[in-house]
């Protein structure tokens, strides 16, 4: 494979693309988990307050 001319440029382009796409997916998924956890905590606290 490495005897293909400009092989390094092709691999670098695909690697950068994969990393950038995974970073976008990761950021959105982590943000969702953080928000869901915070909402659950807040709901639990409100239910506890209502119960008292």
């Amino acid at each position: 494979m490495s005897d293909i001319p400009h092989f390094g440029f092709i691999v670098a382009a695909y690697l950068v693309t994969a990393i950038a796409i995974l970073a976008m997916i990761g950021a959105i998924v982590l943000d969702y988990r953080r928000l869901s956890r915070a909402l659950s905590r807040l709901d639990a606290a409100r239910n506890r307050d209502d119960g008292q």
Binding site: I4, P5, A13, V16, M24, I25, Y32, L35, R46, D49
Partner: protein, 253 residues
């Protein structure tokens, strides 16, 4: 018909649609990458043309996302659609991400083909301006605390910035440039051989669907963020009211 302007209805629809859309995106990427790697080399560029299968879809998305944001900005300023500013805010980082991919892969394609990673010609410079616009919009959203004011400011900046879109599109016709002119969406039909065109179109569809999935997920996050802010304020207000009642009761005893 489901009213998608209602955030709760939007959340319900995305919850059902997202797994299927994500599955379709993954399948399209598998088919697109498979056919791209089986595609024959270009007669001039050789195997380096493989960079086209990621560079061109990213370039297409970098402009398409700005069109989506422009439509959302109109929705914010003209129709005051409740989800328009959430859609605009959610799209900006994605636009920056895909424009970054476009610039870097273009640079990595340019070095072996043109002998330079970067030239200050009209197409490259106008796409760089687009990237800076996306970053500016992300920064603007983060710098204004009041969501309503941030939405209006971002909408106005987006509408001003959309003048860059025709410049990007026609830069290769209006000015001398190293960048090749349009070869897929043109009046006389595509000039690319079908063996290279079909993998390119499949990858373009995969990238577009990926954006749709990520955009829906990001809008969902935005709705949850607003719900969290509202509930936090409500809890703080209830806490204040309780504290006041407690203080009033304490002083009256």
């Amino acid at each position: 018909m489901v009213n998608l302007a209602n955030p709760s209805a939007f959340l319900a629809v995305t919850r059902r649609a997202l797994p299927w859309l994500a599955l379709a995106t993954a399948a399209l990427f598998v088919v697109g990458l498979w056919t791209a790697f089986l595609a024959p080399p270009d007669y001039q560029q050789g195997e380096t043309v493989k960079i086209m299968y990621i560079h061109v879809p990213a370039a297409w998305l970098s402009s398409f996302i700005y069109v989506v944001m422009t439509a959302a900005s109109l929705g914010t300023l003209v129709w005051r659609h409740p989800l328009a500013d959430a859609a605009q805010k959610a799209a900006a980082p994605l636009g920056a991400g895909f424009t970054f991919i476009c610039l870097v892969t273009g640079s990595l394609w340019g070095k072996p083909m043109w002998g330079a990673y970067w030239v200050w010609d009209a197409r490259l410079t106008s796409v760089l301006v687009l990237f800076i616009l996306y970053l500016g919009l992300v920064a603007l959203w983060r710098s204004i605390e009041d969501p309503g004011r941030a939405a209006r400011a971002a909408a106005i900046l987006t509408l001003v910035g959309c003048v860059n879109l025709p410049i990007i599109k026609f830069s290769v016709d209006w000015w001398n440039t190293l960048h090749q002119p349009a070869s897929v969406f043109r009046l006389g039909g595509p000039t690319i051989a079908p063996e290279l065109l079909w993998p390119l179109l499949t990858m373009a569809l995969a990238f577009t669907l990926l954006f749709v999935v990520l955009h829906l997920m990001a809008i969902r996050n935005e709705i949850l963020r607003r719900r969290l802010a509202r509930l936090t304020m409500l809890a703080a207000a209830e806490g204040d009211a309780l504290a006041h009642r407690f203080a009033a009761g304490g002083s009256g005893a």
